[in-house]
């Protein structure tokens, strides 16, 4: 399975919709009961373990641009479902729904729409 279009993400599946995020300990910092929609520009995509990191520049209502740090699934999960290190490139537009940090700081978790944690085998068939 190869990656799809990387130009624009139309939407990002909210993690809790898959039932996956609540089950993973290190996503405990993220509030999946109060999803947040953000839009901005991809600054960096770190395809690293234990979780990928997508940094998005988001312009606040007051015009100030802030970096949002978004944690995602591990590369081993995403590679098998079509997401690679090149899926998100600097300069790509980003719009999606995230689970924000409980602290209220600029961060959260995201799950690319291609990734289904509920059944990785079924996804690939």
């Amino acid at each position: 399975m190869r990656l799809r279009s990387t130009a624009v993400l139309a939407s990002v599946t909210w993690a809790a919709a898959t039932g996956a995020a609540p089950a993973h300990h290190s996503f405990a910092m993220f509030d999946n009961q109060h999803p947040l929609e953000i839009s901005g520009t991809v600054k960096e995509f770190r395809f690293v373990n234990p979780h990928s990191v997508l940094i998005v520049e988001v312009k606040n209502p007051d015009g100030v641009v802030k970096d949002w740090t978004l944690e995602g699934p591990a590369p081993g999960i995403m590679l098998r479902q079509g997401v690679t290190a090149n899926t998100f490139r600097p300069g790509d537009a980003f719009k999606g729904t995230i689970s924000p940090l409980h602290s209220g700081q600029a961060g959260g978790s995201y799950f690319p729409p291609q990734v289904d944690l509920s059944n990785p085998v079924a996804e690939r068939k």
């Binding site: 039932g19 300990h25 960096e44 940090l101």
Partner: protein
């Protein structure tokens, strides 16, 4: 010398010369099930019981003492804490949790040992099948000490089931990422039965029964896995870029600039008593 004696001595001589080669021939791979390849879990991520929802949905048969511990863990997680799950710090999941298979595994059958190589956290299991007993003086480990026995369940002359018993387990461990707890005494025993589906050899089952003093009874689940015919192999080095930090008894997060950030609302900063700070 009688002919019998000559033949006897010749037999002994041949055995001594051909011994090692003959011993190798005793390991007949065709007698073992086709466990090779990459196995991917079928079903949702990070659950001991694949058929049930996470956390309270697992309906773990916990004692009242450990149910209270679990509830306190969930309350902490609800506020943004990490609860009791230790794996965020890149500690091995250990047994039986490793068999939840976040990422795939491979099985390698050798004459006296079967190896289970797990992609997540690079976990490795050795299952000794040489008939040994559990040692009295071996220290605990997260993956434990495993002894296996091959079974020819259907009597066709080929092994089809690997029974495994694992002891000597180290703490801290939980059943899953939601923090379903295991007893602090570390006296867990895990028993498994690994076997292929009779009608689909690309399906592998693992019936796991965990005996633990945090439980009111043994907890048995059935894991199902699929053999990936076009595998890819990925390194999963947890410490590569872990943004989650444990300082003292509290947890924090790093942002994109690797600056320390609170993980919970109104979380105080860590104690900086060992740092020289400018006087105002």
């Amino acid at each position: 010398m009688p002919l019998r004696c000559i033949i006897g001595w010749m037999t002994i001589a041949i055995a001594l010369i051909a011994g090692p080669a003959a011993a190798q021939q005793l390991f007949d791979e065709s007698k073992y099930p086709a466990f090779e390849g990459q196995w991917i879990r079928i079903g949702p991520i990070e659950r001991y019981d694949q058929t049930k929802p996470p956390a309270r949905g697992q309906e773990a048969p916990l004692t009242s003492e450990y149910q209270a511990i679990f509830e306190a863990n969930l309350a902490d997680v609800a506020k943004g804490g990490f609860g009791d799950d230790p794996v965020y710090a890149c500690i091995l999941e250990g047994m039986p949790r490793a068999m939840n298979l976040i990422l795939p595994m491979e099985i390698v059958i050798k004459r006296n040992t079967t190896y289970i190589l797990m992609e997540y956290l690079g976990m490795l299991r050795r299952v000794f099948t040489d008939g040994r007993k559990f040692p009295d003086d071996e220290g605990p480990s997260w993956m434990g000490y495993s002894i296996g026995k091959w079974i020819d369940a259907d009597g066709d002359g080929r092994y089809d089931v690997l029974e495994i018993e694992t002891r000597n387990l180290k703490n801290p461990r939980t059943f899953d990422a939601s923090g379903v707890p295991m007893h602090k005494d570390g006296q867990t025993i895990v028993k498994e039965r690994l076997y292929l589906d009779k009608s689909d050899p690309d399906i592998l089952y693992n019936q796991i029964t965990t005996y633990d003093h945090a439980l009111t009874r043994p907890w048995t689940v059935l894991k199902t896995m699929h053999r990936e015919r076009n595998p890819i192999f990925v390194e999963a080095v947890c410490a590569e870029d872990n943004l989650q930090v444990n300082i003292g008894n509290d947890h924090y997060m790093l942002n994109s600039a690797r600056e320390l950030m609170p993980a919970r609302k109104d979380q105080p900063p860590p104690d900086l008593k060992h740092f020289d700070r400018p006087k105002n």
